[in-house]
Amino acid sequence: MVQSTAKKKKAGNTYLTNFVKGFIRENPIFVFLLGMCPALAVTDSLETGLGMGLLVVFVLTLSNIVVSLIKNLIPDEIRIPSYIVIIATFVTIVEMLTEAFAPPLYESLGIFIPLIVVNCLIMGRATSFASKNTVLMSAIDGLGMALGFTVALMLIGFSREILATGAIGYGIYLPLPVEGSLFNLSYALFNMEVFVGPAGGFLVIGIWLAVFNAIGQSKQRKKEEDRRRWIEKKKREAAERKRKKAMESAGGSA
């Protein structure tokens, strides 16, 4: 009984870690640099980034489920062609649904909806994860990875939008503290339109990557420091013990 609950708990944990890994530790954009084309092209605002992310959530989860369902049926030789067919089918479905139910999103994403087919993230998850794991695991993996992708797109979209227009997303402006008072500041004074253009995408992603690199490196350094200190401490203790022993033996002989 106890054993089974423990087992269940462990299984729950693996599901959870499988879900969470896409957000930070294995983030598709910031760690693996997958799907850079949409990450650069449709992130000029928070809104389009979120829309793109949700389409990828849909396609990646479903394609992972289907790939995992038929993993034993398809011969090894034609694995990659069948994955391409599956993914392209789901992308066509998504394309039609977006056109019907969210025409503004369809307009603003343009050719990047059909280009979900060649997004490295989806093909990569199909070959490296869904083709080897159970259906539930693959679904969770797809959902987590795609949500991590969405969060990254939203982060980039948010930074670009706030730098270019001062809005925090969906065209909402926070009131400036001194607006209309003594200095008459306005957002128009701080707009950097370059960030809404093509160059801004490269710059913002580059800066975020450097920030995450710096965080990762400082963590690494701290870890190494801790380890070094621990080793030194152990060494000192051992030396102390040796000396004590030597003293004792010297005392004994004397």
Binding site: A88, P198, A199, G206, A214
Partner: protein, 201 residues
């Protein structure tokens, strides 16, 4: 139809609406295989060939099979499969005719299927409506010309970028910026430079 149409199509696709820096297509190979200028050239040769032939094929399929039968909604799945099979045929052909050519281009061909520039240019040719503007026959010529322009633009940018990266390797870059982050900043500056070409045509 005068020659200016072709000239405008090639310059616009190559410089003003550069596939990589302005349209963000093919960013993955742009970052992935631009470490050495030699590999960059191999990749762009392979891309150029597949892009031109691929956009001719997809154009023909769109206007002679999909549109007359009113089934344009399957264009995404049709295009990616046509491009993927084209790549397979090209690879077989190269294997057959020349060992040397295969050595130079062979490793890049499998990468091309998932290169968004190829599918993107094929889609763009349809969306720009060349067929509506110039008629289906001449539209094909314009579409082919702009595919050639796009491929030349890809080659130009990836070669320039790889040359910069070769120099960048020797530079003393802060540790957090090493590798991809500084390359992205370089690409951003290149995009700013290309922004200056807007309005030529």
């Amino acid at each position: 139809m005068s020659m200016t149409v072709f000239f405008v199509a090639i310059v616009s696709a190559m410089l003003i609406n550069n596939v990589v820096l302005m349209r963000f297509l093919g960013v993955c190979p742009f970052l992935g295989v631009s470490k050495k200028s030699e590999t960059a050239l191999g990749m762009s040769a392979a891309v150029m060939f597949v892009m031109v032939v691929g956009s001719i094929l997809t154009y023909l399929i769109y206007y002679f099979v999909l549109e007359p039968n009113d089934i344009t909604y399957i264009s995404t799945i049709a295009f990616i499969l046509v491009i993927a099979s084209l790549v397979q045929f090209v690879e077989m052909f190269i294997k057959k005719i020349s060992k040397k050519l295969y050595k130079a281009l062979g490793i890049y061909l499998p990468l091309i299927v998932t290169n968004c520039a190829i599918l993107g240019v094929a889609e763009l040719n349809i969306r720009e409506g060349y067929a509506a503007d110039y008629g289906i026959g001449q539209g094909l010529l314009v579409a082919t010309t702009s595919a050639i322009g796009a491929a030349l633009g890809f080659a130009l940018v990836i070669f320039a970028f790889s040359s910069i990266r070769e120099r960048l390797d020797a530079a003393n870059v802060p540790k957090a910026w090493k590798g991809i982050p500084i390359s992205l900043i370089v690409a951003g500056i290149m995009a700013l430079a290309f922004l200056g070409l807007e309005g030529i045509v």
